[in-house]
Point group: C2
Chain length 743, copies 2
């Protein structure tokens, strides 16, 4: 199917400089820890040294007595409604149980950070240490220690009666999988395991809170969503949201990990007690131990095909660690797992499992990479058994418009086929890979395009430029991508739009920058605001031109009616001159959640050192459907960034726990992110199959690129070594263990 | 005429706490000098020691060589288009002529303020000193030194040919004044003089500028109008307004004096040269010598009446000092002068005159107090001669709806009659004043209600509260008075509206906070935004309630349609819940300039010490028409504040110049503002004659209260001493000189 012809855009598709660029490269941009307030003091958090322990007693009196200490808080300072505090609240400061090593137990604020550190040592906590449960499948066993005594299994069948770590049992059932497998000529299966990994954002969490005596709380923080921080802070502290203002700083990465609140309510409480602004900043070990990484997983999967290569049936049993509270991404992983393929019979069982580790949090395409690690290896194995080129097999079985999408609804126009085709036609795939210990792998992946709520204000300035006020954290260049969409809508230059991200008081509600939604959904709001503005200007021009209100037309950046015509800037001068009212417009959207997904296919060449087990990435290509690439450089950046994170996850990254539940590698020295020295330049091929639900055809591009690397690299390692990899990371040690008989 | 019945309001007319109150009383509010930026350096300005001098040479090389100096600028660094830089630009940094003592000549920025001070001393300036001209009538003489060689007299007759200090000749002519005076039985006249006085705002000008390498200029400044600062800065620096963001800080008073830019372009240039943020802050002497006070004036006036007390004819010859560039408030003074009275025949000649003093700037009801000093004494004298109570005479001749207003158009519904009547009925006026050396004076005054452009955004928060984003500096409590109008419009509590003042990028264009316009015109924009929001909500509710779009009604804070009804908060929950788009609305107005003026009548009792000449205010009452008093406490505050400034002007304040044009009293020790020890509690009587041009009947209340005090106190001093006062200030020395034969 040929991709629809793309309209002629003037601004969209160009690569202008980002408005926040200079501030970021010159160090002037303000990140979370750059906030300074008069009389500001410094908060520090005391964390549990045990992965599982009852807290018998906390004595803060010695800490309070230390000179320079202005406030000490514990979980008892947080309000409670009902039987117990909410999970969110318990995660911010523990109640009577420490649920993971690193769980926040108490916090102090002092006139300098060193005094605060000293004060932490003076807090006496009496623990009753309990045996921890650290692995998802172990936690599912009936004899496992129970992490939370109030958890019961919820499922379609109802709610269980016994305390358990299996918080939810769910899944999907399309067609008849048993019958489907009977029709298959080839069936492959395996059990795949991934470890907990962290988003690895460069900037640790950092916030400053000021609780004013009039009850107004201001929080400056590095977050993906100032409005969600407002909501959570208000809920945890039991104060109205109108009393909370969240000022988003620039953000040094988030990838899903900077959605929840970890420190904001604590800083607020410390400020309330001390009457001073309180800065609370995590260090890297705090980040690893005290914030939310993504789940460790265990997936048993099976797929089958006819001998001519038609995928017929698939089954998966997916168990995801939720960390210390229910709520992993297992359902999203299940929805994404088979999405690239048109398979008639699918059955998936999912398990959301509580363990004594930090509560998991979203990480770029949450839930999907682990699923991809499983399914993409099985599809590869099937291709090998059927003697079909692995991309050819994907092409034969690609999802497309009308086939069943995640959750059961048919897909609208999507680009999986186009991506596979572009991969097959790529210079990379056509180039032979030669040499010993080398292998090439391919994999596809799917991720959603979340919509949700966005809201912007625009105003015409007296020189005809337009200010764009929005509320979404700019992580990947959305100031630029939104300004470009407004410029395109109004028929003006990119440079004539001035975008800015403001605080929660100064713009309408905006959902989080996550789910690949900002350029997509806020872009729709921007377009709507632009169209509203044009309508307003048509009416005003009609009055100035003595025309009928509907006689003024707007096309290609020009208003016209009869003999009159005016560019946007000229029109602004006519209707928003010094004698006229100023011109504003708003745009709001509440977009659906399943709105035309994004697909990506990756090709990777590796060389595995047979002596050390080290896998070197030789070449890597990302092919991805961007719908319409608003700013191609930023799309490419997302494609490359996701691939790199996937490479790290595939080869090096893991939470390495000892038996007592202590993470042994809680620093960037020991938790090994890939660096530029480990990587080739990641090649990119942008495919553009416009998203029919968006006025400019945009698809979210921020996440899907992390889905294929795990499977693609595993497939490449298999080709290089002849051994399938069922566990991540494929570290030198694991590759050696699986390719050599080391006994 | 009875005042119209006021509607039943729920929020308007109450006295809630201001949203910015706690921050201001706890010292947390950020004023101009509170801004701190990373790597910020400090600017200082070199000022002319001469009132009039050619600048032959400026050598900045030694200053530039001083360690710690990062930038030095002079007028040569400002762009020029055409023959010469604009007056605005020349006032910021002089070109080849210093036009007043204190005129900015050069500026430096250094790593600390002390080095900057040292550097100023190293700048060598060679002056050719010229004779200055310092008095308005002297400057009008043909042989006077010419301040600006390009000034020609403009008038209805065209533009003059000869260089002159009389920049403009204008006036008004209604009826036939010559014929009118012939009909009079009593004619009184006099020549009145006032000195230049300063607004005396407590906070000196202070700004910080950062010129980013990408061309974006950010200016934090204490100003009455962030948008006018943006306009002027952009114009003077010849950069697009879209490259300038002005962030308004809190403001410690302005009264008209913080409208123009004095230091912002200089700080910007210093930042551009140094690559650093530059803080530039004036001290009090800089403020007196280098910013714009109000004109010294000379007014020759004459009025006549029939013997039964009908005012028939009036004449005035008004000459106002413009300072070193054309542009005094003489025309506004002329329009305001006779406005309280219905007089058939009026002729006014006006002169705008350049002198070697700082360029004058607006000061609360600019131009009107000096005019009031003249006319109110003449009306008082007439009352005495006709044996009519002075308030009775005012009542007999009051302007009212339909009589001629300033500029010739008839007044709409106004409240001069009601104010005079309320003054007559006041406890103060009915109480006898006894004792020697005591006297009671009364006076009326008029001031405009400026409209101009305002623009606000409002957004409904998920808890049903509403954020109000506006762009007007809050000087007298406008966050509260605007929030109250929005609450009234939406039928919600004051506390449910969260108002905030944002920077020039984050809201549509807003004219300056001046001309008593903010509560009036921005209040109209707020009301409009509220009505737009209600319309939007009606449509959304109709969809939810399956009703016709126009079947939903809104009254008394409740939406209803058939059996369905919902309060605003409930309705917000129905149409702006988590599944819905966020709700925003905008409101814009461009209101007329002459829109229902404000009137005030004052009563003052004084005692004059016959030995020292010192005048003590014994009792003072301000009666004023507020239209509708949104927040009566703030209305009373404005009434009291204006009266106190008028008292200072009447009794103590003046720019005291030596012959060379040096101000001899350029500090608050020597320039004597009234303190609480000098004053009784100022009593207030709010009259409410709703303004028909405003949805809630608001009239501007910020300025008119400074108009009557000069005349009222002069009349009281006359009653106490038997001697008329023709010159201000009525200092002890002047009262002694006029009441004793000191020769």
């Amino acid at each position: 199917m040929a991709a629809p012809t793309k309209p002629e855009y003037k601004v969209i598709g160009t690569r202008p400089v980002r408005p926040d660029g200079i501030d970021k490269v010159t160090g002037r941009a303000q990140y979370g820890a750059d906030i300074r307030q008069a009389r500001m003091i410094y908060g520090k958090v005391l964390r549990s040294p045990h992965a599982h322990a009852n807290i018998k007693r906390i004595d803060t009196s010695k800490a309070e007595a230390l000179e320079g200490v202005k406030a000490v808080v514990t979980g008892a300072d947080l309000p409670q409604s009902g039987d117990r505090r909410s999970d969110k609240s318990l995660n911010v400061l523990a109640a009577d149980k420490a649920l993971y090593r690193g769980h926040a137990i108490a916090a102090v604020a002092a006139t300098n950070p060193y005094i605060a550190d000293e004060a932490l040592k003076l807090i006496e906590v009496e623990y009753e240490v309990l045996p921890p449960v650290l692995d998802v499948r172990e936690a599912m066993r009936p004899d496992a220690p129970v992490v939370l005594d109030w958890v019961r299994t919820t499922s379609m069948a109802g709610t269980g009666e016994e305390p358990t770590n299996v918080a939810a049992k769910g899944g999907f059932n399309f067609g008849d999988a048993d019958k489907g497998f009977e029709e298959c000529d080839e069936i492959v299966e395996g059990e795949f395991k991934t470890k907990m990994v962290h988003q690895g954002y460069i900037e640790p969490q950092a916030c400053t809170a000021m609780w004013n005596p009039d009850g107004q709380l201001t929080v400056w923080t590095s977050t993906q969503g100032s409005f969600p921080v407002r909501n959570d802070t208000s809920e945890i502290l039991d104060i109205p949201i109108s009393k909370v203002k969240v000022v988003p700083t620039e953000i040094g990465g988030g990838f899903g990990g900077k959605i929840p609140v970890y420190i904001e309510p604590t800083a607020a409480l410390l400020s309330k007690k001390s009457g001073r602004p309180v800065a609370l900043r995590l260090d890297r070990t705090n980040v690893f131990e005290g914030t939310g990484p993504t789940s460790g997983t265990s997936i048993k999967a099976k797929i089958g095909a006819t001998k001519d290569g038609k995928l017929v049936a698939a089954y998966a049993d997916m168990a995801y660690e939720a960390g210390c509270f229910p709520g992993s991404s297992v359902t999203l992983g299940a929805m994404a797992m088979f999405a690239p393929y048109d398979i008639e019979h699918v059955k998936i069982d999912t398990y959301d499992v509580v363990v004594n580790k930090p509560h998991v949090q979203d990480y770029r395409a949450p839930g999907a990479p682990a699923a991809g690690f499983a399914i993409e290896q099985l599809v590869d194995e099937l291709a090998e058994k059927l003697h079909i080129d692995p991309l050819k097999l994907k092409q034969m079985n690609s999802s497309h418009e009308g086939t069943r999408g995640p959750g059961g609804m048919p897909f609208s126009r999507i680009g999986q086929e186009e991506c596979v085709e572009a991969a097959m036609n790529s210079e990379h795939y056509k180039s032979p890979l030669e040499g010993p210990n080398r292998g090439r792998g391919v994999a596809s992946g799917f991720w959603f395009n979340v919509g949700l709520r966005s809201s912007v204000n625009i105003s015409v300035q007296p020189d005809g430029t337009v200010n764009l006020v929005e509320g979404n954290t700019d992580i990947g260049g959305t100031r630029a991508s939104l300004a470009m969409q407004l410029a395109e809508t109004l028929g003006i230059a990119y440079e004539d739009v001035k975008p800015m991200v403001v605080d929660t008081d100064a713009v309408g509600y905006n959902d989080v920058t996550a789910g690949s939604r900002t350029t997509y959904a806020t872009g729709m709001a921007v377009n709507k605001a632009g169209l509203n503005l044009i309508e307003k200007m048509k009416g005003l021009l009609a009055a100035k031109w003595s025309a009928e209100p509907d006689a003024v037309e707007f096309a290609s950046g020009t208003f016209s009616s009869g003999e009159n015509s005016a560019s946007f800037r000229e029109a602004a001068g006519i209707v928003a001159g010094p004698a006229d009212a100023t011109l504003n417009a708003t745009g709001e959207v509440s977009a659906g959640v399943l709105v035309g997904g994004g697909f990506s296919t990756h090709i990777v060449d590796v060389e595995v050192d047979p002596d050390t087990g080290k896998t070197q990435i030789l070449r890597y290509t990302v092919v991805q459907d961007a719908g319409t690439a608003i700013h191609p450089s930023y799309v490419e950046g997302q494609m490359q960034g996701g691939a790199v994170q996937g490479i790290g996850w595939a080869l090096n990254e893991e939470y390495y726990y000892d038996e007592e539940g202590k993470m042994a590698n809680a620093s960037f020295l020991d938790y090994r992110l890939p660096t530029t020295l480990d990587l080739p330049m990641i090649e990119t091929v942008i495919v553009e199959v416009p998203n029919p639900t968006h006025p400019f055809g945009v698809r979210g591009v921020g996440e899907v690129s992390i889905v294929p690397p795990l499977g693609a690299i595993a497939n490449a390692v298999y080709r290089a070594t002849g051994v399938r990899q069922f566990e991540l990371p494929m570290s030198p040690r694991r590759v050696l263990e699986t390719t050599h008989d080391l006994g």
